[in-house]
Symmetry: C2
DNA sequence: CTGTTAGCGCCTTCAG
DNA sequence: CTGAAGGCGCTAACAG
């Protein structure tokens, strides 16, 4: 049986109220009492019972992080940054990965709307219907969205500028002289980055006065984040007689899949096909040729998001900051070059 | 103000005890009462207060996962598997990533030994001193170790067979005819996989009757899991006049770093240098040449570990199962081949 | 099958 | 600056 506050109080010769004060507001207690209490705490190896404290205070000092998967380089970077900030503020992270499964996401939301599970929620690129997310938003719990958007100005959100990421990649390829540029994208309608990337792709074309061939726009449905169905789509695309000269891939992993298909078909990069990725994962620098990609501020977004959530936790009634777009940078490497001939 | 159990009880015309029973032991309640209570719960949108429940039951239905980083493909696979099992058992995961920082790891242990934070702990490949971990083991909280070992038979643990992973890679290279094989390893003395890999490397040499050149054993200290200091070591190694003909890299990411250095120095793989990795990350299939590596059962280990922890949670006094070694498989691809000439 | 009752361990007024 | 006292919301005997 672990020591309770009462045991500490008795040993220190004070009341439990004083012990509680030493723990939470030591400035209200005389130095002498403080010393005795701390000594008793040490002797008894006393630890507060956090359940009891939560019951009283209605706080858990826990933040739930809802995300589609942690097996994604951008997301796990974000989560580490979130955790770094959380720790310094005395918060702990509850991991809720939905794996793209709507039922699971729903179950997690159900859990989180329970009382005293978490003080706030960080929602990262989910795939569920926005209505589901709005359930949370309507609840009392502070909520911050990352790379996701619901049409509700009361919900703060941070977005990586994926319009720009696709725009920069596409414009770079158009600038090199390509006219037939394929876009490998996710079909998920609620997956906001996918919509933004389509936007950027189209905008770059529009600015160049070019109408992109709509059949070069390939959309893959990968709801569970697990199966790499890109392969088939890539093969089909590259087998076409009018195959594109360049590909804007959804991210670096998809771009590497393009590398693999090219190797099989004897296509050389960038001579026969230029390719861009997105995210700047570790391997993108290591492959041959090094991948032209877009660096995204994963850690920065995680930090900002957590800081914002902390602010809402401590000052719930402060105004919601406007949506924030985080800039991204194209990194030109060897996988893109002028069209052959 | 959210509804409490008393509100439900009043609306359903029963006592709070009955409401509690409907929630926890519905079989003890008449169908009629059950129906009325559930109806009231729905009407009031009642949710149990988990802090109150925890205070009473001393259970949190939460499991802490302590790990060095989630930005590692093997670990995040394990964590996802852990979460899958946890969810089906009604448990939630508390994320505790130490980032190789002893102080942070200590702080997390301190938190976890607090009462009613978590019901159990899963410890994955930490880097801290085993004594720190023993603190937890001595505590009342069930603990399961993954890829880590403390000399205490009371602590169950699952290990990937990294003796075998290094053994298989080394034996493969010896079989191809190499005699000067370098080992890129982590220097961390408490990082169990590193010790096992050295073991396997030495054992393969011993069985082949060969005494490995000790200067080909490079050990890197990368305590925070952040800085890739491998580069310098690899460059030094490959600049030697008596450079090795083959390298057993610590994992795939390190192997890809070897690829990069080779490209810079104009060395061809496998003609001028054979390389093996470990973990079989996604990119290892995509690089050119595809990487010879070792597939490790990340998901299986995660599942087993969580199941074991659940068992200890429900039956604390059952005997501890013996240490379990999970088998790993060498996958030969294009990065290894017979020595040139 | 159901209700009454007594805390779980802590925080927080309110008096002193 | 300190103590006494009440209650946060729930569960688990126990008695009916």
């Amino acid at each position: 049986m672990p020591a309770r506050m009462e045991d500490v109080a008795r040993l220190a010769g004070v009341s439990t109220a004083t012990v509680s004060r030493v723990l939470n507001n030591p400035e209200l207690v005389s130095d002498e009492a403080c010393r005795r209490v701390n000594e008793a705490i040490r002797q008894l190896d006393y630890r507060v019972n956090l359940a009891a404290r939560s019951l009283r205070t209605n706080q858990t000092h826990t933040v739930a992080v809802v995300l589609p998967t942690i097996a994604d380089p951008v997301i796990n970077q974000m989560v580490e940054a979130i955790e770094d900030v959380a720790i310094t503020a005395g918060y702990t992270l509850l991991l809720c990965s939905t794996r793209g499964d709507a039922a699971r996401e729903h179950a997690y939301i159900e859990l989180l709307t329970q009382q005293t599970v978490a003080d706030g929620v960080l929602y990262i690129s989910p795939r569920a219907d926005p209505d589901t997310v709005l359930t949370l938003a309507q609840g009392a719990m502070p909520l911050v969205l990352c790379n996701y958007l619901v049409e509700n100005p009361a919900v703060p959100c941070l977005l990586m500028d994926h319009v720009s990421s696709a725009y920069q990649a596409t414009a770079h390829l158009l600038g090199l002289g390509y006219r037939r540029i394929a876009l490998l994208n996710l079909a998920a309608p609620h997956y906001y980055p996918a919509r933004m990337r389509l936007d950027g792709y189209l905008r770059a074309h529009a600015e160049a006065g070019i109408t992109p061939d709509p059949t070069l726009r390939v959309e893959i449905d990968r709801p569970t984040y697990a199966n790499n169905d890109w392969r088939g789509a890539i093969e089909t695309l590259l087998a076409r007689p009018d195959r594109p000269g360049a590909i804007v891939a959804f991210n670096d992993e998809v771009a590497l899949e393009v590398y693999a298909v090219c190797r099989e078909r004897g296509l050389r990069i960038p001579d026969d096909l230029s390719v861009t990725g997105c995210d700047d994962i570790l391997s993108s620098r290591h492959v041959d040729p090094p991948l032209t990609t877009v660096r995204v501020p994963a850690r920065v977004q995680g930090e900002r998001a957590m800081r914002l959530l902390l602010k809402r936790l401590t000052r719930p009634h402060q105004p919601i900051p406007p949506r924030m777009l985080l800039p991204v940078d194209l990194i030109v490497r060897g996988s893109t070059g002028p069209p052959a001939g």
